[in-house]
């Protein structure tokens, strides 16, 4: 596109091209460099157009469309940019749904382009026709079907604007095959406004004042870090904020890595398998400041016994999250960084050392009862925690860590010492097993300059194991650590604790994972003994390419502390 300024008139030149090419050009105009996708009949014109732009757009052919969505999520989360996915109609599109739902609940910006049968075949049960718009509607931030090629530039601009702005989320654009073939006059204009959509609400001054007054008057303030801190790039101002007011701060699983794990005010993880002190003291603080989080049930436990004594300040960009689960005394609706920046001059320097001391005291109990044994066990089997400790030490806490879902996810979140932001990639809200391997792939493509380590259980690994093929083909140097207990460990733990040890279909007979890696020419090693562990992790990190490290861990390890489902968080169990 070329814009000529002719006196007062702006004349925009257009070019005639196919819908398929217009799509590719629109993606380039949005700054897209990488696409994760899988071709098929209804998206072939787009793939054909892509062939001419191979030098400008890096397309990664995954092995299953679900892998494309998780890879795009990993990419989006490490870059704080929109991840892009291509898939064909019918099964190609339905295979995206899990990843789209995951991106929706975890607020990940993603644009999925799906091919669709020609518009005259819509509704006829044509080959590979499915109602993608209908199916994806409940799990997208926005979706739209294009049947007219001339719509393409405007709709793509809108899609990217919606996906990345405000509370981010996934957008699906379904393009019929005839619209891909048809010609249009192409010109591109970025979308900066939609009249029905106000992604970043203006902050109300009176609410800021009320919040500051509460914070300044607090004796036992406590701050909760959600993913909104990372999305809005508020990590720096957040650190200054908590240092100025001297507020102990804990994090949700998606808020992890927003605050250096070694920071003296970082008091750990919230929720079901979080740390003892922050859970117990949530029910003792006098002012609770929640930043960019949604009070998920895994964080709050029983709502009727959650922080009832505290005044709650809820800083959140999405008004529908206010009062959804926890009633806010002072809701501050707005972008987390903008709110914290506006609050900074209003809050007083303070000292809450004796309150912080309470966290340390309680943490000592957890250290004695749980952590020391997890990290430095004297018992026979290898514990998941010590594996994570070795990864943390070998990478100096500077790796991007991608986890799957289950026990290993909780253990990794608890024990990896994150030093850098945007480094923890996991499926938080949806709890999607199979997330980690493709997400790690996407994260590594997004940040080739940083080490990426995927920690995965033996169950989840086998859900998207096919993506080893993608890692092989594109030589993506991710490190894969399988914590193998031959069990679906988290479910087994619940069966042990709440279902009378009736291990109903949770034990797994696993293949030789190193042999599978060998098939994909991926270097691998299996570690079964503690003595081999440190060296194994070091070797993996030193190896220049992709690497699979299988560690046989204790078969029936349990993750503690634990807030049983439906219990109050202060009733957290240590055993």
């Amino acid at each position: 596109m070329e814009t000529l300024v002719n006196g007062k008139q702006t004349v925009t030149k257009t070019e005639t091209m196919t819908g398929a090419e217009a799509l590719i050009r629109s993606l380039l105009a949005e700054g897209v460099e990488t696409i994760f996708g899988y071709p098929g009949g209804a998206i072939m014109p787009i793939y054909d157009a892509l062939y001419n732009y191979k030098d400008q757009l890096n397309h990664i052919l995954v092995r299953h469309e679900q892998g494309a969505t998780h890879a795009a999520q990993g990419f989006a989360r490490v870059r704080n940019e929109v991840g892009v996915v291509f898939a064909t109609s019918g099964p190609g599109a339905t295979n995206l749904i899990t990843g789209i739902a995951d991106a929706q609940i975890d607020s990940t910006p993603m644009v999925c382009i799906t091919g669709q049968v020609a518009s005259n075949l819509l509704g006829t049960d044509a080959f590979q026709e499915t109602d993608v718009i209908g199916i994806s509607m409940p799990v997208t931030k926005w979706n739209h079907q294009i049947t007219d090629a001339s719509e393409i530039p405007e709709i793509i601009a809108k899609a990217f604007y919606i996906a990345r702005s405000g509370r981010p989320g996934p957008v699906v654009i379904d393009i019929t095959k005839d619209a891909q073939f048809a010609s249009l006059e192409y010109k591109y204009q970025k979308c900066t406004e939609i009249r029905t959509y106000h992604p970043v609400p203006k902050i109300k001054k009176d609410k800021l004042k009320e919040a500051a007054a509460l914070i300044n008057g607090a004796k036992q303030p406590f701050l909760l870090i959600g993913q909104g801190v990372l999305i809005s790039q508020a990590q720096e101002v957040l650190r200054k904020f908590i240092e100025k007011a001297h507020i102990p701060s804990a994090w949700t699983i998606l808020g992890l890595s927003a605050l250096d794990n070694e920071h003296p005010l970082n008091v750990g993880m919230l929720g079901m398998h979080g740390n003892y002190a922050p859970n117990v003291l949530t029910n003792e603080c006098d002012v609770l400041i929640a930043v960019g989080m949604r009070f998920d049930d895994r964080v709050t436990g029983d709502l009727s016994r959650y922080a009832r004594q505290a005044k709650v300040i809820h800083i959140e960009i999405d008004p529908s999250e206010i009062d959804k689960n926890v009633k806010a005394d002072v809701p501050v609706i707005g972008d987390a960084r903008q709110v914290l920046e506006a609050l900074m001059p209003l809050i007083n320097e303070n000292d809450h050392s004796s309150w912080l001391e309470r966290f340390k005291q309680l943490h000592q109990i957890e250290l004695d009862k749980i952590i020391t044994h997890d990290l430095y066990p004297k018992t026979e089997g290898v514990r998941m925690g010590e594996v994570v400790r070795h990864i943390s030490e070998a990478t100096k806490g500077e790796a991007i860590i991608v986890t799957d879902v289950g026990q290993h996810q909780m253990v990794t979140s608890r024990y990896y010492k994150f030093r850098l932001p945007h480094s923890n990639i996991t499926s938080g809200g949806l709890g999607t097993m199979g997330f980690a391997l493709p997400a790690a792939m996407g994260a590594k493509v997004g940040r080739p300059d940083r080490p990426v380590v995927a920690v995965i259980g033996d169950g989840g690994f086998q859900m998207t194991i096919q993506e080893l093929g993608t890692i092989f083909q594109y030589d993506i140097p991710v490190k894969i650590v399988i914590l193998n207990n031959s069990f679906l460990g988290m479910v087994r733990q619940w069966q042990q604790l709440f279902f009378d040890r009736r291990y109903s279909f949770t034990e797994m007979k696993n293949p030789d994972f190193t042999a599978i890696a060998k098939g994909f020419s991926i270097e691998s090693k299996k570690v079964t003994k503690r003595e081999e562990l440190e060296q194994g992790v070091k070797e993996m990190m030193l190896h220049p390419g992709a690497y699979l490290l299988e560690v046989t861990v204790e078969k029936e390890e349990n993750v503690f502390p634990m807030v049983p489902s439906g219990a109050a968080i202060s009733d957290i169990r240590m055993e």
Binding site: I133, G134, M137, P138, K141, W142, N143, H144, Q145, I162, I194, R195, T196, Y197, H198, P201, K202, D318, P319, S320, I322, D323, K324
Partner: protein, 190 residues
């Protein structure tokens, strides 16, 4: 009456199931009806009545939805609806905050009107009118609240009702707000 009881009453009124009217201003976009209704489906809230129409502002539609639920739930649902990209705003009203009407049509055999004055009296005394007279049937139209249109149905039944249909509710709030000015204000506010 002591203070505690008042608080209890407030809590009770938030958890009491009653009728709520949602009035939603939207873009006129295909597929949006589905996006709106699945928000209720997901929460297992039944839609009692729904009506979509244009407004006096070009390109802007109004959804009028009646549901039976609690204040607590309705407020969450309304916030979720406001989040839809193509929705300008959603209002929630209780019955005493609106004026509303529904329209009902009744098809009865024409011969009923030929057999004496009873049927004609019924129409006249119930604020209904005759919409059309065909050789075989007459269509009667009545506007009113549900109990009124239903009442007429019961009265017509002895004459033999061939068909009955009632529209969704249309409602207007008691405020003097102008839609176009409200939309402008909403835009400037953000």
């Amino acid at each position: 009456m002591n203070k505690t009881k008042t608080v209890t009453e407030i809590v009770d009124s938030r958890n009491e199931v009653r009728s709520f009217n949602l009035s939603i201003l939207t873009e006129n976009k295909s597929g949006l009806l589905n996006a709106v209704t699945i928000i209720f489906t997901r929460r297992k809230i039944n839609i009692e009545s729904i009506n979509v129409s244009e407004t006096e502002v070009e390109g802007v539609s109004r959804y009028t939805i009646v549901i039976e639920s609690t204040r607590e739930k309705v407020e969450k649902v309304v916030k979720r609806i406001r989040k839809l990209i193509d929705v300008f705003w959603a209002f929630v009203y209780e019955e005493d905050e609106i004026y509303y009407q529904e329209i009902a049509l009744y098809k009865v055999p024409t011969k009923v009107f030929l057999d004496g004055d009873n049927a004609e009296h019924l129409v006249r005394n119930n604020g209904a009118r005759i919409l059309v007279i065909e050789e075989d049937f007459i269509i009667i139209e009545k506007t009113g609240h549900q109990h009124e249109t239903k009442d007429l149905l019961e009265k017509l039944k002895p004459f033999g009702v061939l068909e009955f249909v009632r529209s969704g509710r249309v409602a207007m709030s008691k405020s003097t707000r102008r839609t176009d000015l409200f939309l402008r204000e909403l835009h400037n506010h953000h």
